[in-house]
């Protein structure tokens, strides 16, 4: 049957990408359907119970700045908050929250169920409805036809998923869910490049069988950090600790003896796993000289006894898993509640996407999340937000939008995927961002909220709070730049005592704050007019202290921006351009970059090639009159 309502956007999948995609689309005002095979698993954290961390918290705060749900939901579900890299400087600081799975899922479900313009339906998607070369809706496995203008596919690891425990394997999605083979088969018939990736999880352990007294305790930070710009510790549930223990030489011996039954080392698994999250069998093989590895013992929630031993992901047979776990300090009597496993799944080569996450070959069809070769809830959610936004903009007949590399980690993520593709599950790191000093988690709102407001993603409440914050920062900066302090004045003497030496000349407060020995809270101790608090004091201080570096990066961006704005028309035949080498012509024809900036970032494209392209475009333009 044809479902009687026509939707603007249908989102397939209720994971982290699907949730943010559906929410973003609905916020913009598009009539949105979230189609999931199981409403109970909306917002499910199928791997480790944590949100944020290096590079990832940057994405979470960007989602938040664009009105998304992940940060706020994390504040409701987080049972331990820490700021990593707190001493290495604001740009690389990252908030990480240990999260109660049940609380997180419930909070996300509540947000979804209460979102205006958003409808839920439980049914597996089996096929796409096509109208010529464009997508026109989705057919469920019961044969219900949902018609729509855009479709966002966020199928995670469900496409062609195969789960491995030892040499046994079976078809399946994550955490006991079924796989979507019908849809996978259908998509494999379409002109997408498909490849396999692999990821894994550790066995889960019953906390009642664990001796925590021999492990080192890792409490959360005080004061307790928050994830959302609008967040507050009053939303947090009870806070708990994590624990750290280590593997031993004994553990490693057991693993070595079990390798002949490992699907990884016997060639059963062909997909590529992530280098930064190797299985324990990988670790001891590749770093044979290390006699011990860290294991982070993370609680899965307040109302469950299950623990997540982060660091011993494995696909060895169950008997080996049990034996190796019990050689770890504190785990001598451990009971495994769920065995660890590896999962292989299909992903689509992200080089077949536009920056908007629309597929190149099927207009109206967007891909987001793990099917694009990424890993992590945060990476998935960020893509979901972008795909949902663009799917809605398309349905409402508006221009597509995506952030540049210098605007957001989301911009880095999408551009990396689209220009370079990926060979392993792609994870965000701060070193991937060339403008790391600008893309901080503390200023995600200053970078993106205004854009989000224009796109229709940001509601009045957030916009008001943001506008007030921005104005306070500007006022305080202005005051600091305009307040002169004489070396003989009372304030000047007080500042001198903070600095450890008297002021040599009259200076502004702004100049004084730039000095390494000075910071805003020290200034507050001597100047009663320096009253800014929290996020505002933080922004003012960073702004002044980093001014030189930030200006340099901004100059560089301005220089590169002109390439970003030069579009390469679809009709351009790179093979006809004289002066380009055959290799360059081939690369450009294969990748079909959308802008000159995009072209310049492809590997093997030289500055000379870009110059020749510029000259060619200009000539073409002049000829066209």
């Amino acid at each position: 049957m044809d479902f009687p309502t026509h939707f603007d956007v249908i989102v397939i999948g209720g994971g982290h990408a699907g949730c943010e995609a559906a929410l973003a689309s609905a916020r913009i005002g598009a009539k949105t359907l979230l189609l999931t095979h199981n409403i109970e698993t909306i917002g499910q954290m199928s791997c480790n119970p944590a949100i944020g961390g290096i590079g990832k918290s940057h994405l979470v705060k960007e989602i938040d700045a664009l009105g998304g749900a992940m940060a706020a939901v994390t504040d409701l579900g987080g049972i331990q908050f820490r700021v990593l890299n707190s001493r290495k400087g604001p740009a690389v600081r990252a908030t990480r929250a240990q999260t109660d799975r049940a609380l997180y899922k419930a909070a996300m479900r509540e947000v979804i169920e209460n979102q205006l313009n958003l409808t839920l339906f439980q049914q597996a998607a089996d096929d796409l409805i096509m109208d010529g070369d464009q997508v026109a809706g989705v057919i469920t496995n019961m044969g219900v036809r949902f018609n729509s203008t855009s479709v966002v596919l966020t199928a995670g690891t469900f496409l062609g998923g195969v789960i491995h425990v030892g040499l046994n394997n079976h078809e399946g999605g994550r955490a006991g869910d079924p796989t979507s083979t019908a849809l996978a088969r259908r998509l494999r018939q379409m002109p997408f490049r498909v490849d396999r990736l692999k990821t894994g999880t550790p066995p889960r352990i019953d906390s009642r069988s664990v001796d925590f007294s021999v492990m080192s305790e890792q409490p959360g930070d005080t004061p307790v950090p928050v994830m959302s710009f609008l967040g507050s510790t009053k939303y947090h549930p009870q806070q708990v600790s994590c624990f750290i223990t280590h593997t031993s030489e004994k553990t490693h011996n057991i693993i070595r003896q079990g390798l002949d039954r490992s699907p990884m080392y016997t060639g059963v698994i062909e997909g590529q796993g992530p280098r930064y999250c190797p299985s324990i069998e990988d670790k001891i093989t590749r770093f044979a000289d290390k006699d011990s590895h860290q294991v982070f013992v993370e609680p899965e929630g307040l109302t469950t006894n299950e623990l997540y031993p982060n660091g011993i992901s494995t696909s060895l047979p169950f008997d080996v898993q049990l034996e190796l776990v019990r050689t770890i300090k504190g785990f001598e009597k451990a009971h495994i509640t769920r065995p660890g496993y590896a999962i292989e799944y299909d992903f689509f080569d992200p080089r077949d996407l536009h920056h908007s996450l629309e597929t190149n070959c099927i207009p109206g069809l967007y891909f987001a999340g793990q099917i694009n070769g990424t890993t992590g809830y945060e990476e998935a959610a960020a893509q979901g937000l972008l795909a949902g936004t663009n799917a809605a903009l398309r349905a409402l007949d508006k221009d597509q939008w995506y952030p540049r590399r210098d605007q957001a980690y989301l911009g880095v993520l999408v551009d990396d995927l689209i220009t370079r593709g990926t060979k392993e599950p792609y994870r965000m790191f701060t070193s991937r961002a060339e403008y790391r000093l600008l893309l901080r988690e503390d200023n995600a709102d200053l970078r993106l909220t205004e854009i989000g407001r224009t796109l229709g993603l940001v509601n009045d409440r957030r916009w008001r709070a943001f506008s007030e914050k921005r104005e306070s920062i500007e006022l305080e900066l202005q005051r600091l730049k305009e307040t002169w302090v004489g070396s003989e004045s009372k304030l000047g003497m007080a500042v001198g005592s903070v600095l450890g030496k008297p002021l040599s000349k009259e200076s502004t407060l702004a100049d004084l704050l730039k000095r390494p020995e000075m910071n805003y809270s020290a200034l507050q101790s001597v100047d009663e007019n320096s009253t800014a608090q929290g996020q505002i004091a933080e922004q003012v201080e960073i702004h002044l202290k980093y001014a030189g570096y930030i200006d340099r990066q901004k100059e560089e961006i301005d220089r590169l921006k002109r390439y970003e704005n030069i579009e390469l028309p679809d009709s351009l035949d790179f093979r006809q351009i004289k002066g380009l080498s055959n290799e360059v012509k081939q690369k450009l024809s294969d990748s079909r970059p959308q802008t000159l900036g995009h072209a310049s970032r492809l590997s093997g494209i030289t500055p000379a090639a870009i110059s020749i392209l510029m000259v060619y475009l200009k000539k073409r333009r002049n000829l066209a009159g």
């Binding site: 290096i54 590079g55 990593l84 890299n85 001493r87 290495k88 400087g89 604001p90 690389v92 280098r275 930064y276 999250c277 190797p278 670790k283 590749r286 770093f287 290390k290 590895h293 860290q294 982070f296 982060n310 660091g311 992901s313 370079r420 790191f429 701060t430 070193s431 991937r432 060339e434 790391r436 000093l437 390494p516 980093y546 570096y549 301005d558 220089r559 002109r562 704005n565 030069i566 579009e567 351009i577 004289k578 002066g579 380009l580 080498s581 590997s603 030289t606 500055p607 000379a608 110059s611 020749i612 510029m614 000259v615 060619y616 475009l617 200009k618 000539k619 333009r621 002049n622 000829l623």
Partner: protein
């Protein structure tokens, strides 16, 4: 749609061919051209190179450059020492070659002086122009017509290729060894720092470690030593490269000795005497020229000779000009020889498997040696696609004809990117890298700011990448993952 516009950087390059010409012209283009010129140029009545105290006092006053007017001026460095004197011309945009503000400095063409002058502008904030960039800007600013657009694409392409070749050549083995070692220590240090930043929960916090300061000191030392090497110029070469090639016993080494004016190469009647590559730097009327003698090309069972032949081929690939020497008496090659004949000869007699690429063929001058045996007189013949010079190296007959021909080529040939500017690019990149490393060290010592040190080191590596090629963040992550066991 966005307007296609030129870069807003102010660029500089030598507009005259490199070498010891009579006049050397530097061209600046971009919004800050006038400002930069005003910082370097002074007007003085006296031609004395001494700076009088009045001039020092007025040195704050900017010289007023009249548009399109040839001023006689003196050029000073930032310490107020005189560098050179000559003509300065100012063309305000859009009425200039590029359509931007352009300043031309015409001085005495010595490469050292010009190079020093370029350095002044780089210090002020100019950037060395990319190959073909002046023409590119002119076109983008509508100063050239459409027909010229094709030519510009060709110019950018060919001069980039040439610049790349110059760069490879100017990197002698020792220099590139040093650069690679420098790069390696920089990458190793970045590895530790970036790993500490991206993986704070692993047991690898190196920022607190003395390893980092030690590493920084080591890098500063290495950079300083590379710069010294480069500035001494001992390992870098300039001038057109002329390679003498041919079959064994055609008289290549005799020709080298004639051109060099001394007995540099061992000459015997035995084929295959020259095993290694011999280089000789000569001047023709003040223009520098490298003559390179190579082993005779043939298939040889002798291992040493094989290696010599391999090196000969490498030289041929890098050459600006190839003197292909044939034995006029023995090889039976007449005066009306064509390029097809030459090619056939080579494929038949020398290396049946080695096909001469077009770009190599274009560089060939055919030398018909040993004409004394045929009782011919020395002469130069311009056939349709090939210049033939008939001479006798043994009797030193016809060498002046060859010299004149080479001089003619040097005068006409647009060598655009000379060795000197290739070297200037390198030293400029290394100097910028050094500045970043020092700034980063300061951040670490004064503010303990790991992320700023990381930023400066990344910029330093970007500078070196201009010499050594791209190193992406993914390359860096790859190195981290293979060096440290990361895995939370």
């Amino acid at each position: 749609m966005t307007i296609l516009s030129a870069d807003s950087d102010t660029i500089i390059a030598q507009a005259t061919p490199p070498g010891r010409g009579g006049v050397g012209i530097l061209r600046l283009s971009g919004p800050r051209s006038l400002e930069f010129a005003q910082a370097v140029v002074r007007f003085t009545k006296s031609k004395s190179s001494k700076v009088t105290s009045t001039q020092e006092m007025t040195s704050d006053v900017k010289p007023q450059l009249k548009p399109r007017f040839a001023h006689f001026a003196q050029f000073f460095d930032k310490k107020n020492d005189l560098i050179d004197e000559g003509i300065v011309l100012y063309f305000p945009g859009p009425n200039s070659f590029t359509g931007e503000d352009v300043v031309e400095l015409q001085g005495h063409g010595g490469p050292v002086v010009l190079d020093f002058l370029i350095q002044q502008f780089l210090d002020l904030g100019a950037r060395i122009a990319r190959p073909g960039e002046f023409s590119e800007r002119a076109f983008l600013n509508d100063k050239l017509d459409l027909i010229q657009a094709e030519a510009i694409a060709d110019l950018i392409d060919s001069s980039s290729t040439q610049a790349a070749r110059s760069a490879v050549r100017s990197l002698s083995g020792e220099f590139s060894n040093q650069i690679n070692q420098l790069l390696e220590s920089l990458i190793t240090l970045r590895l530790y720092i970036e790993a500490a930043i991206d993986f704070p929960e692993e047991e690898i916090d190196f920022l607190a470690d003395s390893k980092v300061t030690k590493g920084l000191d080591e890098i500063v030392l290495r950079i300083t030593s590379v710069l010294q090497t480069a500035n001494q110029g001992a390992l870098l070469q300039e001038g057109m490269r002329v390679v003498i090639a041919g079959r064994p016993n055609a008289g290549k080494s005799s020709l080298l000795n004639c051109l060099a004016g001394e007995n540099r190469a061992i000459v015997t009647a035995l084929a295959g005497t020259t095993r290694d590559v011999l280089r000789e730097k000569i001047n023709i009327d003040g223009m520098p020229l490298h003559i390179i003698d190579t082993a005779g090309l043939r298939t040889s069972p002798d291992e040493i000779e094989q290696e010599g032949i391999k090196r000969a081929w490498q030289e041929i690939e890098l050459a600006d000009q190839i003197l292909l020497v044939v034995d006029a008496s023995g090889d039976n090659i007449g005066k009306n020889v064509s390029m097809d004949n030459v090619q056939a000869l080579w494929q038949e007699m020398v290396f049946s498997d080695k096909i001469w690429a077009d770009k190599i063929l274009k560089k060939i001058i055919l030398i018909r040696n040993k004409i004394d045996l045929l009782k011919e007189s020395p002469t130069e013949i311009e056939n349709t696609d090939l210049t033939v010079i008939c001479l006798s190296a043994k009797n030193n007959k016809g060498i002046d004809i060859l010299r004149n021909h080479l001089k003619k080529i040097m005068g006409f040939k647009n060598l655009g990117q000379g060795q000197f500017s290739a070297r200037r690019r390198h030293t400029d990149a290394i100097e910028r890298a050094l500045k970043f490393v020092k700034a980063g060290e300061e951040q670490l010592l004064n503010a303990g700011a790991g992320e700023l040190l990381a930023e400066d080191l990344k910029q330093a590596q970007n500078c070196l990448s201009e010499i050594t090629g791209e190193f992406t963040s993914d390359d860096l992550l790859g190195r981290i993952f293979s060096s440290f066991c990361i895995g939370k």
